[in-house]
Amino acid sequence: MLLSEAEARALTQKVLGYVKADDATVSVGSENYSHLRFAANAFTTSGARENTTVGVTVWIDKKRGSSSTNEIDDDSLRAMVAQAQDLARISPVDREYMETLGPQVYNPVNGYAEATANISLHDRARAINDVIANCEKAGVIGAGFHQARGSASASATKNGNFAYERSSLVSLSTTARTPDGDSSGYFLRNHFDVAKLDVKRVSREAIRKALESRKPRTLEPGVYPAILEPQAVADLLGFFAFSFDARNADEGRSPFSLAGGKTKVGQQIFDERINIYSDPWNPELPGSQSAQSGIPAQRVQLVRNGVLKNLTYSRFWAKQKDKQPTPGPVNNIMESSMSPVSLEDMIRATDRGILLGRFWYIRGVDPRSALQTGLTRDGIWYVEKGKIQYPVKNFRFNQSLMQLLAPGNVDMIGVPERVGSAEGQGGSASLLPALKVKEFHFTSQSEAV
């Protein structure tokens, strides 16, 4: 059972009651989690977890210590507080200490569905059975992962703040492979409300991609125009809004840094149609009501019409730089300031290019330009004269994210969709559009399917 607001309040107050330190913040999280995994057209593992974790950070003479536990009887909680205080006493002064917040007013978000948090085992088994049955019918081998989570989290400070919220998430990914291993398709979607997770679409798309990428041809690596489906954009940019850190930029170690200790704020860094922001109350992608350190979350505009509008300031860095701490980001939204273009229209408008649905194993290569390497996976096609011509073999890419979105490189921008990073297993989500870009750097061939 998830902690109710009253239970969470009582628990945080109890812990604060044990604190003798000058300042403290207590956090509580409880979760109900369950999953069903399948592979080779059969169930593999399935399980559930119930947990409650309590953490405390204290400051004594501005010296800080933290401790956490999932043993929530009184003695264990007292021991946890005592341990944090012991750690604080022997630690050097926390030069970045900021007094914890007093009472705040939160504007609640709606990101919780009871039916998600307490998912029916039988409904899930039946739904995944249908996915496998669809795979069998199509003559493909299915593998996938269904997970559901309900969470309740609370935080309280010695200075009187208290915040409580619940959230939920359900996701389904499916990979379909032809039995000969010649082709593969993948699709992933998630939502906070299980009623809005389109299970049929996930299996249909995965199977379609597998069937339509049989007998892939070899295409020379190189620089190609490319259409990135929302999943591929999420794989590259799924956490992008969280990378606009002001301190890194000020310290000269970010793609948003300029020579001479300056930053790119105010510069046209991306295509003039691109907007990147965070909005806690987006109905499709509700974020948390709390941003850093419990500051009530607000809409935060990072990029407007391609111009870098804001970097994000921690409370400490804001004080150093005489700025306001940033009330976000709490989610990641990218959209066009012009009318969005459908994926079909993007294909129709392509003389020659690559259509791809997913990237894999993406790792940073050079932080100066946000250069990433990784591979395409589970369906990639050659497009010519407005039509998909044939599937092609996978590529490795080396692509700068700054170049990807740069003025002159973005051709078309699609409708934002709720989509999670595949490497993140759909455990979080963004609202991201398909992108058609003029240049994408495919650097070598990959035989992998």
Partner: protein
């Protein structure tokens, strides 16, 4: 690399012997801080196991296990002259896994009481039962002998007994040494320790206690050129080890930090690499990661069976390639080993009661065997489990994870200098950097920490912006030189991710310095 570092890595594993302890309540439990462990210590694990296993049996399972585990972590992080965080955490709970009509079910809870064990066991069976209605292929396990044992990993000094203040001072001193070089702008350093107190009981009759310690120190030094906006970093070459606090005391961290500072600054002025084909001489601090990705993962049997198809991927090693595929040149031998002293994946027993073992994956260059568990074993040629089942928490279902996989050194005393002497145009690489590999483990790309030009058999100037890209079997078949035992070192990953839901595994890879011919090298600096 300095001789002192080499000597340390070479001998550290040998010093850390494995201690076998008698059955009954492990003596080390009493050494743990009493207040912190009160709840866990008060629990009668054997009695709870009896409840879980008898409840599961009554409900008709063919197999059940219960793991009652407590995890402690400690983490200290600093930057420059200040401490960023000091924290400790603990997590205690249990998980019950059942096999019912060939279908797995698992449930877990933090509330370690007899009533909850009964409820959670029923829930695990309920999950398996709900899914079994639609199960298409029944899961079958190979048997394992009953084991009653206790096991403790081979550390010398329990890091949880070392004063936090000593650790903080150590890191601040390290930062000071890194900042000594003019031009160094930032340094971050951290040390983390993990203690796992694991109890396992199963319907096979096994009862196993294990106590495991691992250490994960790290640092990163950055030099920024404010004039042109360039910046370069150099991370620590010493990685995580299956050792205690003795690792912090014996490894030459301070000299390495100073050297890292010098090298971060030097990287700003290093010569950009000209892309092309080069011979590579790869130091163990670098090569361990290439082994992990291109040898460790493709030899996981669950990948080959497409059980990981939806996430980590499958493997180019299909089952028909066993005993036939020349994976590497004949001098290359890879051994999987869960008994290797000082290594991260070393255990007494895995999470289904199978003892740690040592076996060849690649012998004389030939691909010969898989990593297996009890539910995969029947699909392997040997039909046996090598003890590769692991869960990263009491709340995670156990599944196949990688053992330590190591490249064996050559029989002679070939040194790095000997290997370099045989290269006309090449690059010497230290440290792990950017890494990426495809979902079947063919195509990979690796960076590093420092790169040195090799010209006519001699190491010359520093290079920058280097990454090499190759195909697994091409790369390993191009290996024509291996260092001897004196050059052997152990590297590793503290948090190797796999599975759905994603789980973390700590795993080591030992190797000597090695040479590879004509590998494709890129310049990673984007214009």
């Amino acid at each position: 690399m300095t001789t002192s570092r080499r000597d340390f890595i070479k001998t550290a594993g040998l010093a850390a012997g494995v201690v076998a302890l008698p059955v009954a309540l492990p003596s080390w439990i009493s050494d743990v801080d009493a207040a912190e462990s009160a709840v866990a210590a008060a629990v009668d694990k054997n009695a709870l196991a009896d409840i879980a296993l008898s409840t599961a049996r009554k409900l008709g399972v063919t197999y059940a296990d219960i793991r009652i585990n407590r995890y402690r972590t400690e983490s200290i992080s600093t930057r420059e002259k200040q401490v960023l965080n000091v924290s400790r955490s603990q997590s205690f709970g249990f998980g019950v896994r059942v096999l019912f009509k060939g279908t797995w079910g698992f449930a877990s809870s933090r509330d370690v009481t007899p009533e909850e064990v009964r409820r959670i066991t029923r829930q695990a069976v309920e999950i398996a039962r709900a899914n079994s209605v639609y199960q298409r292929k029944r899961i079958t396990m190979v048997p394992a002998p009953k084991v009653v044992a206790s096991w403790k990993s081979g550390f010398e000094k329990d890091p949880f007994d070392v004063a936090i203040d000593d650790k903080i001072q150590f890191l601040l001193k390290l930062n000071e040494r890194a900042l000594k070089t003019s031009g160094v702008s930032f340094v971050n350093s951290s040390m983390g320790f993990v203690n796992e107190q694991k109890f396992y009981a199963s319907t096979d009759g096994s009862r196993i206690d294990q106590y495991i310690i691992r250490a994960n120190p790290n640092f990163n030094v950055t030099a920024v050129n404010r004039v042109n906006g360039d910046f370069q970093s150099r991370s620590s070459l010493g990685g995580p080890q299956g050792m205690g606090y003795e690792y912090m005391e014996k490894y030459p961290w301070l000299t390495e930090a100073e050297r890292a500072g010098e090298e971060a600054v030097a990287k700003l002025k290093a010569k950009p690499i000209e892309p092309g084909k080069y011979d590579l001489v790869l130091h163990p601090s670098h090569l361990w990661l290439t082994i992990h990705e291109s040898v460790g993962h493709p030899t996981e049997l669950d990948r080959s069976l497409w059980w990981e198809a939806d996430y980590a991927g499958t493997s180019f090693l299909t089952r028909d390639k066993i005993g036939k595929l020349q994976f590497a040149s004949k001098m290359v031998n890879f051994i999987a080993d869960r008994t290797q002293p000082g290594a991260l994946a070393t255990i007494g027993y895995d999470d289904e009661g199978v003892p740690g073992q040592r076996w060849h994956l690649v012998k004389d260059g030939l691909f010969v065997d898989w990593q297996t568990t009890r539910d995969l074993a029947l699909m392997s040629p040997q039909k046996k489990s090598y003890g590769c089942l692991h869960a990263d928490s009491w709340g995670s279902i156990s599944f196949p994870r990688m053992p330590n996989v190591s490249l064996q050194p050559s029989a002679g005393n070939t040194s790095m200098d000997d290997l370099v002497a045989g290269v006309e145009k090449g690059i010497l690489i230290y440290g792990d950097g950017s890494y990426s590999i495809d979902q079947q483990r063919y195509n990979f790309q690796f960076g590093g920490q420092t790169f040195w030009e090799i010209k006519n058999g001699k190491v010359g100037q520093m290079l920058r912006d280097v990454a090499y890209q190759s195909r697994t079997t091409d790369f390993w078949n191009s290996c024509d030189g291996l260092g001897g035992q004196a050059s052997y070192e152990i590297g590793g990953s503290f948090n190797d991710g796999k599975g759905e839901p994603g789980q973390s595994n700590a795993v080591s890879h030992g190797c000597p310095v090695a040479r590879f011919r004509q590998v494709n090298v890129l310049n990673t600096a984007a214009k």
